[in-house]
Subunit: 412 residues, 2 copies
């Protein structure tokens, strides 16, 4: 893409009321726009990142048998009253609204209730199980404070996956598979080394639930990471569980972290409430065993910015970067240099590379500053100096050392 | 995809309160699920169609220079008060909600206001123009009646495109280009021949706006189609405009139709309200000229069902069908026949074809009925009879005449 055609502009300052580093950087770079606290629009560069994160998640969810669907924002009272979660004393984060007729509606903050109800049309026999479904859909939570940028939104994209199994054994087998898929997701988006499987409180059906926590100073959670195996324990259960449940290790380091994913054994809590049952091989009626598995693509995007940025700007891992190359034309009016840059842009694009081509008639300093701020993995510079040697200056965003390479070396 | 793994089941009856043919068929086939009147979830087969329609639209919007972004559902009062559209006397379709603090919010039914405000950060000079942006995003309208299935939702996906031009001349040039892109979209989704460019009332800045209306008995609109050139005139202006504005034709036929797209000249209505202005070549301050261009992918999906279905079920045009082939295994336990079907499924899939493979141990009658209901363009049948001749029975959904073809003829 030619940067001259990109409508979004960088800016020197984020809005005065913005205190989260992730939102500050993303706003300054023109990746997102703040509509109000906890409510952000995605501009083209930000949407590219969000879509790449979503596509990595989608790919891993498909690989464990997930079928994608798309549920609704608007929720009806009757469905949620079945589990008592309509009540604002039980769930304090509802946004509610009304039909013209006066009928109350809610904006979905999760989808266990409508989905369990929906599945009654599709699950009757053991032959219909297991069922694995997921969606990537906008959720709403009426947060009293929303000061963490993309990491705690009032409106945010969520990938929520739900499993429906015939018994506890099948459920546990799948639950372990989901853990593996989650691990791959965090590796692919560049947070593998900083993200820890974390034991948290479990509710009625399991001793534990599991979170995936990414270490960053901006985290709202505190975790205790086992020095032997890297498994973590959430602060809320550390007082009673201070031995590593995986390796029995007893030494921990304490870190601030962000919950980037969670997986829950829901047992029969929802299937019982809605009578989601099936006939087993012997004709006996049994309740379906459920699990839920969440990741917020926007929160993940904010976490990547918090965890990997440096003083110059953002640093995107290759799989989620808005582009692979940021090509800077520093011709300063020299037609020959310009032609070289244009040619390279054409060649790289034709070879299937994603290139943001800074073809603007701007100063070199401005182009370098934008490149650092945007954080595209590889910067390519074309100037009189580089083409004097018949070369291109190549620098990784994570390095301070540029190298001169030939076009053949670059394109391969 | 193996139909045995698809969780959604077909059903004999749609919910008793469902009166729209499109929703009835889509629910019976397990493509969508009704949450409440005008609010539908998309199940895997339906989501595949919705995504294909969205991708066709996206492709055409990109081809006229559109940059994709993603705005928010939650809307603040101040922004909408600027144009007086916060008032429910002016806009009667708002859903409103509240923050914990009591601050009122609305759910976006369109996005001119927040987008015009956003663009103030990005448009200052004539060099920043034109800007073309669009999104495919969920909108909310508090419809008192919502009885038309996907054709009139309370919650629905919308592609809204907005143009920002420096003057009326550039605006008109782009507006014509957008008309062309819309025409291509309706052709690509299989509604070309039934969809008419329709003159409608224009508002302050133009004599006319333009709608695209698809002829179907389920339509809520009435249009008058010029017998000479096919251009239509909306009922609401036909009394004063009963000569074709394109060819001066005076003969019309009257049809029921659904508005599947609309394009508007917004002039400076919004840019004036938000002072979205720029400095022109001579340093003079000018207001930006805007246009808006809408298509609802879900409504389009509903319209395709209404317009093209027959008494047996749905009929999807190739570009938006959930799959290209519906392969029916009628082996009835014959291993040799089954192996032939499995092999064909593998071969077609490996060659990049999208195949729904009915590998269920169901009766032939049930498989045929499902195939007709689902409306996948090409049905392939493998049975003892067909493989006795070393062949596959191939039938288009739009034809009653099957043909026997060899694997080589099919795969090419």
């Amino acid at each position: 893409m030619r940067q001259s055609t990109l409508f979004s502009k960088t800016r020197k300052q984020a809005p005065a009321d913005e205190v989260a580093k992730n939102a500050e950087l993303l706003i300054k770079a023109g990746f997102i726009h703040k509509e109000m606290a906890g409510v952000y629009s995605y501009l083209p560069l930000g949407l590219r990142v969000l879509n790449k994160i979503s596509d990595v998640i989608r790919d891993e969810m498909n690989s464990i048998g997930g079928q994608e669907l798309f549920l609704t924002v608007l929720q009806d009272k009757e469905t949620w009253s079945t589990t008592n979660r309509w009540s604002e004393e039980v769930v304090d984060s509802w946004f509610k609204t009304k039909l013209k007729s006066g009928t109350e509606l809610g904006l979905g903050f999760t989808h266990e209730e409508p989905l369990t109800k929906l599945m009654k049309d599709h699950i009757q026999s053991y032959k219909d199980l297991p069922v694995y479904v997921y969606q990537i859909q906008t959720k709403f939570r009426n947060e009293p404070r929303a000061k963490s940028g993309l990491m705690r939104g009032r409106e945010f994209l969520m990938k929520d996956f739900y499993s429906f199994s015939k018994d506890e054994k099948s459920h546990v087998e799948f639950y372990e598979k989901a853990k593996g898929a989650y691990k791959k997701i965090f590796e692919r988006v560049g947070l593998g080394g900083r993200t820890h499987l974390t034991f948290a409180s479990g509710g009625t059906f399991s001793k534990y639930s599991h979170e995936f926590q990414t270490v960053t100073e901006a985290g709202e959670d505190t975790i205790h990471i086992c020095s032997s195996c890297g498994t973590a324990i959430n602060e809320e259960i550390f007082a009673e569980q201070n031995v590593c449940p995986v390796c029995n290790g007893k030494e921990f380091r304490t870190e601030k972290a962000v919950e980037v994913g969670n997986i829950f054994n829901l047992g029969s809590r929802f299937s019982e409430a809605f009578d989601l049952s099936y006939l087993d091989e012997s004709g006996q009626k049994k309740l379906v065993v459920m699990g839920s598995y969440g990741i917020g693509p926007g929160r993940l995007m904010g976490t990547i910015v918090e965890a990997l940025s440096d003083e110059k700007g953002m640093v995107w891992p290759k799989n989620v970067a808005p582009f692979e190359y940021h090509l800077l034309d520093l011709s300063g009016g020299n037609e020959k240099v310009k032609a070289f840059a244009e040619d390279l842009y054409g060649t790289l694009s034709a070879a299937g590379h994603e290139v943001l081509y800074d073809d603007r008639p701007a100063r070199a300093g401005e182009k370098f500053a934008d490149a650092d701020l945007f954080g595209i993995p590889t910067r390519l510079v074309i100037s009189e100096k580089t083409i004097g040697e018949g070369k291109i200056e190549r620098k990784e965003r994570t390095s301070d050392t540029p190298a001169l390479v030939t076009k053949a070396e670059l394109v391969g």
